[in-house]
């Protein structure tokens, strides 16, 4: 597949560090799923969107739910409609052809697509570990069986698979063995600056500095259960910029910490942040 060997380099709003870009490119070249972990809000999911945009491939998202069975992600056999059709026979579908009642799930769609796609399996840790185990061979062989018609669906074009997980716990070993792994570390302040600039190209230096510095100080408070991440910072800056009464002066002096609720979502964290001394200078 020499023609798809375009390198992933990030997009206008997704700043990617060279390390991660290399990992993505190696995974694409090896045609292996890439498993991403990291704090919530550090851009795991967004990476898939960025890869799709950057490489010009369609994106198919499988949002994993807690009760989800692997088979649902592959395909579904709609018995009820078939039963209904066989009774009333007015749908125009051929009841004797099971194929008419098989609907592809997200993974099935990715496999049967005529183009190469990016397949995002988001938050795989939400489902039981059975879910991972059932997907093992599917992702390894890039094929699965339709039991009802005894047919194998093979990926026409091996999709670029990106799997995200929020869990602190590791996924099952056999699953890990079939993935490349990366843990997105929390960005350094310098790198965060670049991310902020990518999102707000016209932001004033002084505002960006004050926000980022305050943000990192708030993050470093001890005993915070849910630390604010990149997502929260971006939303916070967006809110501050929309607020006509916001004065960067007050933020620098730590006099005022507006919209703390955007950064801290747990009430205990919120209260602690409120009392924290966070003057920038």
């Amino acid at each position: 597949m020499r023609e798809t060997r375009r390198e992933f380099t990030g997009t206008s709003t997704y700043v990617v560090d060279p390390e991660l870009a290399k990992i993505v490119n190696v995974s694409i070249a090896l045609e292996m799923p890439l498993l991403l972990k990291g704090e919530p809000g550090t851009g795991k999911t967004l990476l898939a969107y960025a890869v799709a945009e950057n490489l010009g491939l369609p994106l198919i998202v499988l949002n994993v739910k807690s009760s989800m069975k692997a088979i649902e992600a592959l395909y579904q056999y709609d018995t009820l409609t078939r039963l209904n059709d066989s009774r009333f026979g007015d749908s125009g579908r051929d009841v004797s052809n099971i194929r008419n009642y098989i609907r592809m799930g997200k993974i099935g769609q990715a496999f049967t697509s005529d183009f190469r796609v990016v397949l995002l399996i988001d938050e795989i840790d939400k489902a039981d570990s059975d879910f991972q185990d059932d997907l093992l061979d599917v992702l390894d062989q890039m094929s699965f069986d339709l039991i009802e018609i005894d047919e194998t669906i093979r990926a026409k074009n091996r999709p670029v698979v990106i799997v995200t997980s929020n869990a602190k716990k590791d996924l099952s070993d056999p699953f890990l063995g079939r993935c490349n792994f990366h843990h997105i570390a929390f960005p350094s302040p310098e790198f965060m600056r670049r991310i902020v600039e990518a999102h707000f190209p016209e932001v004033e230096n002084r505002v960006a500095d004050a926000c980022i510095e305050t943000f990192y100080r708030l993050r470093s408070l001890s005993h915070i259960e849910k630390k604010p991440a990149t997502r929260e910072l971006i939303n916070w800056i967006r809110a501050l910029r929309l607020d006509p009464t916001f004065q960067v002066r007050l933020l620098e002096r730590g006099k005022e910490l507006p919209f703390l609720g955007i950064l801290f979502k747990k009430s205990a964290d919120y209260l602690q942040a409120q009392q924290a001394p966070v003057a920038v200078r």
Binding site: D17, P18, E19, K22, I23, N25, V26, S27, A29, L30, M32, L34, L35, K37, T79, L80, L83, N84, R87, A167, K168, K169, D170, D173, L176, G177, C179, N180, F181, H182, H183, A185, F186, P187, S188, P189, E190, F191, M192, Y216, S220, S222, E225
Partner: protein
């Protein structure tokens, strides 16, 4: 290529499969690695499957590609170690004293600075005597400091590494905070106990039962008869008994609180009681153990399918457990020894577990205080650690 590197990693305790190593060879062969920096990233993504091993990887990488680590890096490492040591010292002077071979009584006389100097000297001896002595600190598990898993500096910030050599990056050890010893957090508890579910069909019938639908439809001479089933819902009942009295449980307040917070958020049907050291005629619904007594006999009226979970060190004087009047509170009415009450509880509920924060790793509790051993014959005991929680979760859901 790099076979030795592979074995170094494995020797450092990293579970790397040969398949992963071969995959690395494939990448090298494909010409995807343009230098040492690339190699650092690519080898890691292919072979290391958990951020908890990133730090070990960094150390092995630095050693393999750099020979011995530079002295100033070593010093930096020391500094962090020392800070951690100080914390530890403030918390448990005796243990540290033993570790350093100082007389515990002379310890309070040493100022923190003196202690640090003393420690440094000891450490230098150590490094000179063994080669590759920085491992003495680095491996974490064996040094007095590594045990604590405590990072006074808070989480270090990882992230971009623009322009630095791979060895330098590896030496930065950005992933130190992700190593395995870190403290239990609520989300970890959640992960471990996620399996604790008791699924029973309840609620509105809104799920189609295909098999029954077909059967009923056929019975109905082809007139469609759709059969609905209720969904499976979690109906796990949990009774949590927490030992919150006395100084012996004090060091574990934080971890117990984490467990407690999780339990409250997670289990819909949760009853929490408090006791001190052992169970007698009554337990308490309020943490102060003052206002809301609850008679232990009442437990027999609860659903026997409830999961009974104790949290406590199970360490007490033998008479507190076995004497019919052994309770340390003189005003506590008591008719039978605590062990009998515990036996009564163990027999009232089919599923029970005892979390003991005192022992961190031990899979069995065949040693330890006499009372712990006795109680362990009635309840399966588990360490109050991530692993212990996970094992307990499996145990509590087992069929028998």
């Amino acid at each position: 290529m790099f076979v030795e590197f592979f074995y170094d990693l494995r020797k450092a305790g990293m579970p790397i499969s040969p398949t992963a190593f071969l995959r690395l060879q494939k990448v090298l062969y494909m010409g995807l690695v343009g230098g040492l920096d690339d190699f650092y990233v690519v080898a890691r993504t292919l072979m290391v499957k958990s951020e908890r091993y990133f730090d070990v990887y960094d150390r092995v990488f630095a050693k393999y590609f750099h020979g011995l680590e530079r002295e100033d890096e070593f010093e930096k490492e020391l500094e962090a170690t020392l800070r951690a040591l100080l914390e530890e010292w403030l918390r448990d002077p005796k243990e540290i004293a033993e570790m350093l071979g100082i007389d515990p009584d002379s310890l309070p006389k040493l100022s923190p600075e003196e202690l640090v100097r003393y420690f440094l000297e000891r450490l230098r001896e150590q490094t000179e005597r063994h080669d590759g002595g920085n491992r003495w600190i680095g491996t974490g598990g064996t040094s007095p400091v590594g045990h604590s898993g405590f990072h006074p500096g808070g989480m270090r910030v990882g992230g971009g590494s623009g322009g630095k050599s791979a060895v330098k990056v590896a030496l930065e050890r950005r992933y130190r905070d992700y190593t395995q010893d870190s403290r239990l957090t609520m989300s970890q508890v959640g992960e471990a106990l996620r399996r604790l579910k008791h699924l029973v069909p309840v609620g509105p019938r809104d799920q189609v039962n295909v098999k029954e639908t077909i059967r009923e439809t056929v019975k109905n001479a082809g007139e469609i008869e759709i059969v609905f089933d209720p969904r499976l819902r979690d109906r796990l009942k949990v009774i949590l008994l927490i030992d919150n009295g006395g100084w012996s449980m004090d060091p574990y307040v934080e971890v117990v609180q984490t467990l407690f917070n999780y339990a409250r958020a997670q289990f819909k049907d949760l009853k929490i009681f408090f006791y001190h050291n052992c169970i007698y005629e009554r337990v308490w619904e309020d943490p102060q153990r003052l206002y809301k007594p609850f008679p232990v006999v009442e437990f027999s009226r609860m659903d026997p399918e409830s999961r009974l979970i104790f949290v406590g060190d199970a360490a007490m004087a033998p008479e507190e457990l076995e004497h019919p009047r052994g309770c340390i509170y003189y005003n506590e009415r008591q008719t039978k020894p605590g062990i009998d009450q515990l036996r009564f509880l163990a027999h009232s509920f089919r599923h029970s577990a005892w979390f003991n924060p005192m022992v961190r790793y031990a899979p069995d509790f065949s040693y330890g205080p006499y009372t712990t051993q006795r109680i362990a014959t009635l309840f399966r005991m588990f360490a109050l650690s991530l692993e212990g929680l996970e094992r307990a979760g499996t145990h509590l859901l087992s069929k028998n």
